[in-house]
């Protein structure tokens, strides 16, 4: 998408104003405080989906993001509960732990392509769940519960973020946290994709053999992209654990992994902000269909199929089409 510089800045400012000012204002005037929880979930799921999108961008169908979200959740929870770490420190550590794990896992499996890579990542999610059930440190099916809320974050005596437990409205605090992390993640993605790295990723997606013949270290680039992707997954999982104050082996399952992927498809694989829009629409779409009771899943799946047939390049391709016509 080629918007000019001023339009881009205006769009960013508008977006920030909506998520940081308009949404909280609208929620407090309407009293629908439950929406905070919903929107926080959307923000966190879109971070994980952004990671999946990035692996799509190097030509790999990733159905394994649930594994890293789960891993990130456990890493944060264990560090907070067993070692007394501050949540704020565990957040980047959980991301880095997942990134490191994904390098080890990615080195062998990123050689696979197409449906083979997809299948292996699908299995990965299930392996993560079974590990969480089996390992002593994760406390089996009982999970880790009663995780304290994030404490205060102070740097050199200056309190940047207050202790969540002392706040009247911790829902708002979590919402702001999730949205802030989301904005940072998507800014990173935008920069990646619009720098030369994005072009290099595209070259992998379109023709790995040619990419290596022009001197691109394809193995290295694939691992880097996968590590960033898994970092996002881990961070998202860590915040989820903090919000729900618990983490179980079933907190992220194959269904979540599949949903992360669907969010990307729905929003559009060619657009950085595709996963954000896709997550929003899918999450609310699913909720709206709740009234249809037993037909919920049927209608939902039917709509998904229709959408993919009508808009194979995702919802954001709609915006591009109208702009071209206009």
């Amino acid at each position: 998408m080629t918007l000019n510089r001023n339009t881009r800045i205006a769009a960013v400012v508008a977006f920030l104003a909506i998520v940081f000012v308009a949404v909280p204002a609208a929620i407090s005037s309407s009293g629908r405080f439950d929406l905070y929880y919903t929107l926080t979930s959307v923000a966190l799921l879109s971070i994980a989906s952004a990671g999946v999108w990035l692996t799509f961008y190097i030509g790999r169908i990733n159905i394994g993001q649930g594994a890293y979200a789960l891993m990130g959740g456990y890493v944060s929870a264990i560090l907070v509960m067993n070692h007394g770490w501050s949540f704020w420190l565990t957040l980047p550590v959980a991301g880095l732990f997942c990134a490191a794990a994904s390098v080890l896992i990615g080195l062998p499996i990123l050689r696979l392509r197409g449906v083979y890579f997809a299948m292996v990542t699908l299995v990965l999610t299930e392996v993560a769940r079974l590990l969480a059930l089996a390992l002593p440190i994760t406390n089996g099916a009982k999970g880790i519960v009663s995780i304290p809320l994030p404490g205060a974050l102070s740097v050199f005596g200056v309190t940047l973020i207050p202790d969540f437990a002392t706040l009247q409205n911790s829902r708002l605090a979590f919402y702001l946290l999730a949205v802030t992390v989301m904005v940072v993640c998507f800014a990173v993605m935008y920069r990646l994709v619009n720098s030369r790295i994005g072009k290099l990723c595209q070259s992998l997606q379109q023709n790995e053999e040619l990419a290596s013949s022009i001197g691109v270290n394809i193995a290295y680039l694939r691992v880097i992209a996968y590590a960033v992707s898994s970092f996002f997954g881990g961070v998202s999982g860590a915040i989820f654990a903090a919000i729900s104050q618990s983490i179980y082996p079933s907190s992220f399952t194959v269904t979540d992994s599949v949903n992360f992927m669907l969010n990307c498809f729905l929003g559009g694989l060619g657009y950085v902000f595709g996963p954000m829009l896709g997550t929003l629409v899918l999450y609310f779409g699913w909720d709206l269909l709740f009234q249809t009771g037993q037909f919920q899943l049927l209608i939902y799946s039917g709509l998904m199929i229709v959408l993919m047939l009508v808009l194979p390049n995702g919802l954001l391709s709609l915006a591009e089409m109208t702009r071209k016509k206009g």
């Binding site: 030369r196 790295i197 290099l200 595209q202 023709n207 053999e209 040619l210 290596s212 013949s213 022009i214």
Partner: protein, 259 residues
Amino acid sequence: MAEMLEVSGLTKRFGGLVAVNNVSFSVREKEILSVIGPNGAGKSTLFKLISSFLKPTTGEVRLKGERISGLAPHIAARRGVVRTFQETTIFRNMSVRDNVIIAHHLRSKASLFGFFLGTGAAKTDEAAFGQSADEILTLLGLSSLSNETARNLPHGHLRALGIAIGLATNPSILLLDEPFAGMNHDETMRMVEMVRRLRERGLTILLVEHDMPAVMKISDRLVVLNFGQKIAEGTPSEIQADEKVIEAYLGSEDEAIGL
């Protein structure tokens, strides 16, 4: 003249099949050397061995005296051996210009992280690549198509784009696998001129081609393969008079070598 590339005792087995069998020859600096031979003779396999896309069973390849066989393909490219592919090989969904810009990858001085941050070095690189890409596109007669999406190009221009991508890497030796395939006479002659011009600019060229008139016209020397073995080596006139070569082509394509 100095030797650019040295192939010695190169052999590649695929199970029972010996696709390339103990082949040795060398390519001199600024030379155009063609490898010819019937279908399945092992020409493309030879190219893949030289560009390190395949590891030789035995034998080795040296570039300016340094061994390059057995390296990863992107390392061989970094050393200066770059090949174009027999099948049309481009980045389909990028613009023509982006195809060539991305192929400047090896020349970048900025690191990946530098490109992410948009450092000064990265900006300098980007500007230089853009300029160089435009020059290459002009050289190959593609400048009017530079914003076209690559997959929409007509066949002749696709082959040219493949070569443009190879050139952008700034190789010491460029390996062209059937660059004239599927081109009509005029397009071929234009391409022959193009390849000559590349050599005048100092490039060493190794090429595989079935179009005999074009090969005879363009090459300084030829190497002939048959069933994986080198059966002859020499100037175009020497090859046209070679008994073994005539025999290898006889019956099927005896006119095709320009006799």
